[in-house]
Symmetry: C2
């Protein structure tokens, strides 16, 4: 099937998966994908510990709550472990956020905040994206 | 952050998003990504209508139920619209399924079935993947 349109210039950066135990989930996903994780770190601002696994073109981020009041802990309590967010890498994050605001999108972060691994990040509200929590990210210059 | 390990040779093919109205969701995601959809078709075996949007490195699949008894309709009734599955493109789908069976993974399809757009597809059970419904797919030779 040949696409009939020009692809978006957004890049699918990673899928975030909320898990209860990072150790158990990393073991399972390392076996699944045939690769080792990297970038394991605490993100205290969000009350989570994260780690990444590389596929050939994108990444899987596993997130485990460090704090029972974190949004990831509440997500797991409500819905169980599973897909938590989808992240896109964009060139100019503020321009994209401004564009979406003009279009009436509901944003959690109308301006980017400092994220893990030296990136700017901003989340869009799931109610504007048919239930999907979307993260935009861009490299800090 | 430089990965400390060899990436998986699996490719993130698409993220499947379950939506109630395909027309409404396509309009929103075309605006978000700045691209047009393609490949809209009924997949009668799964009781859904699907369409795709291309990012620069992967795809977004939107799925809307055609049948109230379909698994996607039940998913939306239970959890609302949102991320439904993650699909990886692999070279030899049967070899990967056999490998996972040996490792004790719970598979929905121990052998691939014929999917949309001339691909073989097989789903792994979410209970083996920390709540994530995983699809493997490969090109038919």
């Amino acid at each position: 099937m040949t696409p009939m349109s020009i692809p978006s210039n957004w890049q699918l950066d990673h899928i975030g998966i909320a898990v209860s135990s990072l150790d158990a989930a990393l073991e399972q996903y390392e076996t699944l994908l045939g690769t080792r994780h990297y970038g394991r770190e605490h993100v205290d601002s969000q009350g989570v510990e994260v780690a990444f696994l590389d596929t050939s073109n994108a990444r899987i981020e596993l997130l485990a709550p460090l704090d029972p009041e974190s949004s990831v802990a509440k997500f797991i309590n409500k819905r169980g472990e599973g897909m938590h967010h989808t992240a896109f890498l964009v060139n100019d994050i503020q321009r994209e956020l401004d564009r979406l605001i003009t279009l009436g999108w509901d944003l959690i972060h109308p301006q980017p905040i400092s994220g893990a691994h030296g990136k700017w990040v901003a989340f869009l509200h799931p109610r504007s994206a048919h239930g999907v929590l979307i993260e935009l990210c861009s490299y800090k210059n």
